[in-house]
Symmetry: C2
Subunit: 210 residues, 2 copies
């Protein structure tokens, strides 16, 4: 498989974790979002949303949107499962994952902050404040959804919610979010990053990291 | 079931469509987002994300996040299915749905525009321009992902992508998005709104509509 990704993109990071957990080997094709490579016509033909990641399967089929890709991987590669079999538990894990993937990440996306800067005159400091605001709000909600008493967010092995959480925490550290209220999330992070699948997926370990 | 919802919330609208398509009867509990009812302590205990919708099942279990709720309904109530059985097709429908549910809606969420106004001095006109910008970008991406030649987005019956699309189009009309480039989406909308499940879910047909 080929993964079109950007080292600092948290949605790319999610899919890297998922591929590594499933034991799928893949080739990274770097798309430099800061240089605008996601808007090149050849790339837009693959991914009309002009974003990363894009996963191209060995048979040439093209998948976009990180959560749709992770669901595909979970449905087609049995072990380890990213979602519980029980539908109610599954809905709970998905809801927590979406608290990050829908309520935090899209609002803090690079293209949103770039638009706020170019069109509305946001300063670099405004941008950092913006990032912190949505992460702090979202992490409170995420933490409140956790049952507690498990090694990871919902159980003793990482699931879809953990995949979204760990990727988002990279941004939290990068932008200096005050993590004092989120000790539980930092414990989960420490445990996750000790696993080879997560460690290999970290932004700084990607071929395009600078 | 009880659905905590707000008439103009497009995420509530998605779940109303899904419940109606599955033939599930439910009681609406209005949460007035403009009056801030989503921040009342009793409601936050149900939904720590301080958003709508929240679905309370007959056994008292509480589900949050519209896409997680719709997945739950699709997995537990067999007909009609909102996602194809084929995993590759399923990933395609999900990716299109996410182009709306992740790339448009969260950025245009009421709480985001409220924050832009209160903290960064956005005017009402700035807000409308902001809404239009993200919808126009996102609808181009959505339309490019459609295979064409079907009555609805991916087939001859409505699926998860259509559910997200129809709800978002309510906002597009409300905020005056120029729909000239999106004739295909308007055709799908016309067909969907002719179905009773969609018509009954429309914002203006809710008990809290004003």
């Amino acid at each position: 498989m080929k993964l079109y990704s950007y080292w600092r993109s948290t949605t790319s990071y999610r899919v890297r974790i998922a591929l590594n957990l499933k034991g799928v080997s893949y080739e990274t094709v770097p798309i430099n979002l800061v240089a605008g490579e996601q808007r090149a016509p050849d790339y837009v033909a693959l991914n009309p949303g002009k974003g990363v990641p894009t996963l191209v399967l060995d048979n040439g089929e093209v998948l976009t949107q990180s959560l749709a890709i992770i669901d595909y991987l979970d449905a087609t590669i049995p072990e380890p499962l990213f979602l519980p079999e029980n539908q109610l538990q599954r809905a709970r894990v998905r809801a927590a994952a979406h608290t990050i993937a829908l309520d935090i990440h899209p609002v803090n996306n690079l293209k949103v902050i770039a638009h706020l800067k170019s069109r509305y005159g946001f300063s670099a400091e405004d941008g950092i404040e913006w990032f912190r605001h949505w992460m702090t709000e979202g992490f409170h909600a995420y933490q409140a959804l956790l049952p507690g008493g498990s090694a990871f967010s919902f159980g003793d092995s990482p699931d879809l919610a953990d995949i979204c959480l760990i990727a988002q925490l990279y941004n939290a550290h990068r932008w200096g979010v005050d993590m004092t209220p989120f000790a539980r999330l930092l414990e989960i992070e420490e445990r996750a990053l000790a696993l080879p699948a997560f460690a290999a997926a970290r932004p700084e370990n990607q071929p395009d990291a600078t």
